[in-house]
Symmetry: D2
Subunit: 335 residues, 4 copies
């Protein structure tokens, strides 16, 4: 079977390779991957900054979708022919996170989805919701589950709450779309009025161009009549954190899910303490969250926003496109 | 000022009367009521079955809407001219229920909303959301807050969950409309296909005619692919309880908010225990719930379903209409 | 290996039998059982009333403790020599209950702990906490986890809360002991002053002899100065339910975990609705609860109360002792 | 009546003054204060760094205890003779924090407890639990409620959880004592072995001398067998934050309640994100928390640790003692 392997740090070291076909043991499943989707984490991995201790070669990417082609003994959750997505955390089914549950993640340290076939534990799969295409379904495991987990599991967002979403990358667009399903009013920031217009088409209540309005956190609070937003889905990190705190209402929640605009932050702690804010770190979420989200996606017919699809042989170009920041929604590789 | 008083048990003892105009003391407010709305509780009160110890005369009804016309010293939450609804529980602002918080309810034991003017504590009010008319806003305090509390506070309903709503009375229609805002898929039961059609127009996912399908709980479970519904808003009581339990998924919640179809139930407890169901009794909810709901109503432009409006002088006819069960949504009295 | 098999309904059909020794497949484990413990559920099973559809023969009992003697491929959670308890729900690790998670329970439909060796999935085990003996540890899987789940997961009991526990059977004594660890004040009911005295030695705050005080629910409420208890651990069912509701504060929780005093109840629903009570059905709990409880047991050195220990050959006598109701705490079989 | 006024920034500007006796209006209460207690916030206020916009003169201190001596019209919650504590947040009774609820705090911007008499809203009081002395009760409103809120409301700490407490100041000692009531195992840090010994007498499970073990967070994690602590009550701020994160288990909670060791922090956000930590800012808590805590204090007979008591005329010396950092527990002023 074909895979894309990373043999040394750097995009130039992504190569198409051949590996033996896997056979399922008891409680294991083989999935034919039809599409994979890229996250910023995958880019950091390839560059060698996400997990410098990762042994190479590795098959990158955690997100994908495909079909079960073989099952081992004692498999009860799926059957050949089932359309499935793998879970990012192969061993986190439900409950609180723990060292054991967070260890086994696809795309590092485990081989990921840029492969024709994957050998997975039967517990590490969920059914594809509704009639999503392979490309659409491939975007869910990391990006969409992170957004759901931020809004629902960590945030308890309900109809009428205000959610602020930063930019128009993969997680942020899902946070926008899922926020709308939950009945929230969603404020989106971007440096591009064109992207803000597209965000409004997806249901955003308001958009703020942060180039024009550097104090966008203050503006967001004003949009709520001074009350402040209930929830911020923080993907920027150091470059955006302070304005995010400005945006929040007393007692509001910041879900920290990425650090695209810097990891090291100069923070004044009273800004958190005196207004009783909550900062919740998130690394995707468990399988129960994935399945709950899928029920929402299926009921509402939500369509993930696929920015562009590349063939497997051009996986490197897909990474370069992601690195450019020009995308709106998800970058997908067809396998 | 004019009020409608109940001077003895029975609809025939509802009379239009004159009372002195109230003056606000410190932290008190006078509200000119523009519309009141009826709940089944009000009918039971008038018949003498809700609270036989109630001293008469009393001004019935807990739900209404109006405008602040006078404020006493040290009032900070409202100003003359503010459009407001009273809260059902005048003293329950937030937190867990307690004897003290549940004691002071409008329409019994306190005088209610069938009055031109009401004297209220400034804490016992909320702002009318969005641009609702007086008649629409008058339906919120008891019926809508109960539905919100069932779904959100007690139920934790999120997008993709399945909610079952019984019939098309006031609370049930709100549970349908609010369930839709929350992103839930809502199943409605009714004995009338015409009412089911209207429920679908309001966003219901499925309707079940319980005359045609006596085992409607089993049917509801089938509609979910055998999984069961996540939440039942129980207004029927004894006559519907067993099918409600049948409908629920393991771990599901039944919000018990009314007993229209009987109060005394023959119940087999293992039906609750073995499937880990939760039965949550609800008596409206606190002011924080009301305000959270109002944010959702305002954002989504939700319109309460007003069935029919009666003038104050015909309040008795309004009660008779409610008693007939022919209504769809809320019965309102214009004051 | 030796097992006790039930070959037909009735205590007289419990027989000592020989079965082949199990071998562990991938991700499976063989445990040498040292002690088993009886629950009322086991007695009902043997009598044929718990699960009349159960195929026979079956090895009864869900609770036990032992040592891992062999592990299959890909087992990572345990090693030979580890002292372990099986989990009641072999497939419920964490999260919400579901049909799939509740299906695989020991002692019916799966073979249980009255066996020298058990073949289990590696996920279906927890480490024995602290230095508990085999007999003590054998009491935990069903009885103690149920009590923990009632108090902590369903009840959210914290220090200063009042918990009412009915009688001095296995679950109730654990609810007493665990309630004390949590800092709650625990009220125990019993028909025996001697048992109440023992309950006080275990930390009970108050005892009520329900023979002398038939309105023990009212008495319990009085003990709290009229506020009502926060939580009732209901094991009696129909025979005790009404007084339990009387005991509770507005908004309080009744954890329904057994129906020893009757399954069919004549219930007035407004008793639940008007005081906003919550009735939470419980069937043991997930592995995460078990492990959280074990941390509490280990830290506090809690000692399960073992009433009497029988050898395997006298398993029937153990059941008869349980049926007599004379026990205080748990009945154990040494294997 | 006598008060201690701050007339300009600086300890030297605390002066004993005379003010007219207050009279209660409707729903108001006059309390004769018997004892006040100091928090670090009060010291910062006096120095002019806590709230530089505060208008002077002001009566400092939020914590105290006394007796109701007069009540206005329509007061129902208390009667003359009742022993009470004021609440820190006079207007936050329950529910989520909001701008309105957090505005009215004693000791700034409102006059505080260093006064013979206080005029308070009847809602801004709680009954003194059990038989605490005035000096003991005076320590509760800010310090103890903050600790309770960290552990219970924000932390959900249950028996068997591990809690790390920094140092032996007022909040930390309460977090230790309350953590023990909740059944948690509590790790205390200090620079003094003598203080650690006293902490062990109060029930601490382990103590770490952070002078001897600069990587005390790593040590704390080791003490839990590598799992990490469930909860950190953070009073140090910048100087301790990083080790606190080291100590926590994946998914653990840091309650941020003070910044004694620095407010400005250089923080690497992935340390929070990748391990799914939660940072919860806290500013005391609502009245419901206070009353829940008081039930726990009364049941367990918890005795607040009073370090030293000063007469009102020597209030300045009390502040100096607090500033020295030599105290263990609370500094009190007798009035």
């Amino acid at each position: 079977m074909k895979v894309v392997e990373l043999r040394a740090w750097g995009l130039e070291n992504l190569v198409l390779a051949e590996r033996p076909e896997p056979q399922p043991g008891p409680r294991q499943v083989v999935v034919r991957v039809r599409a994979a989707s890229l996250n910023y984490r995958d880019l950091l991995l390839v560059r060698g900054t996400y997990n410098p201790k990762q042994k190479l070669p590795i098959v990158p990417c955690s997100d994908g979708a495909g079909v079960v082609v073989a099952v081992g003994d004692r498999v009860t959750r799926v059957r050949p022919g089932d359309r499935v997505c793998p879970t990012f955390h192969q061993a986190w089914l439900a409950g609180e996170p723990s060292r054991e549950r967070l260890r086994a993640t696809l795309g590092s340290p485990l081989d990921g989805t840029l492969a024709e076939l994957m050998l997975l534990d039967e517990e590490g799969l969920v059914a594809i919701p509704g009639d999503l295409s392979d490309e659409q379904a491939a975007t869910l495991p990391c990006a969409a589950v992170t957004a759901w987990n931020a809004l629902v599991t960590a945030g308890g967002v309900v109809a009428g709450d205000t959610v602020l979403v930063q930019g128009t990358g993969g997680v942020s667009i899902f946070a926008l779309q899922l926020g709308v399903l939950l009945g929230a009013r969603v404020v989106v920031t971007s440096s591009s009025d064109a992207k803000l217009a597209r965000a409004r088409e997806l249901g955003a209540w308001e958009g703020i161009n942060y180039k024009e309005v550097p104090a966008w956190g203050v503006r967001a609070r004003e949009l709520t009549g001074g009350r402040g937003v209930d929830h911020v889905v923080e993907v920027g990190g150091a470059g955006t954190f302070e304005q995010s705190l400005q945006a929040l209402r007393p007692g509001g929640t910041l879900s920290l899910i990425g650090v695209l605009a810097g990891a090291a932050l100069e923070l004044r702690l009273p800004a958190i303490q005196m207004r009783m804010l909550r900062v919740q770190g998130l690394l995707v979420g468990h399988r129960d969250s994935f399945e709950a989200m899928n029920r929402a996606i299926a009921h509402h017919g939500l369509r993930p926003v696929v920015d562009q699809v590349f063939p497997l042989a051009e996986a490197r170009a897909a990474f370069e496109h992601l690195a450019s920041g020009a995308h709106f929604g998800k970058v997908v590789v067809r396998i």
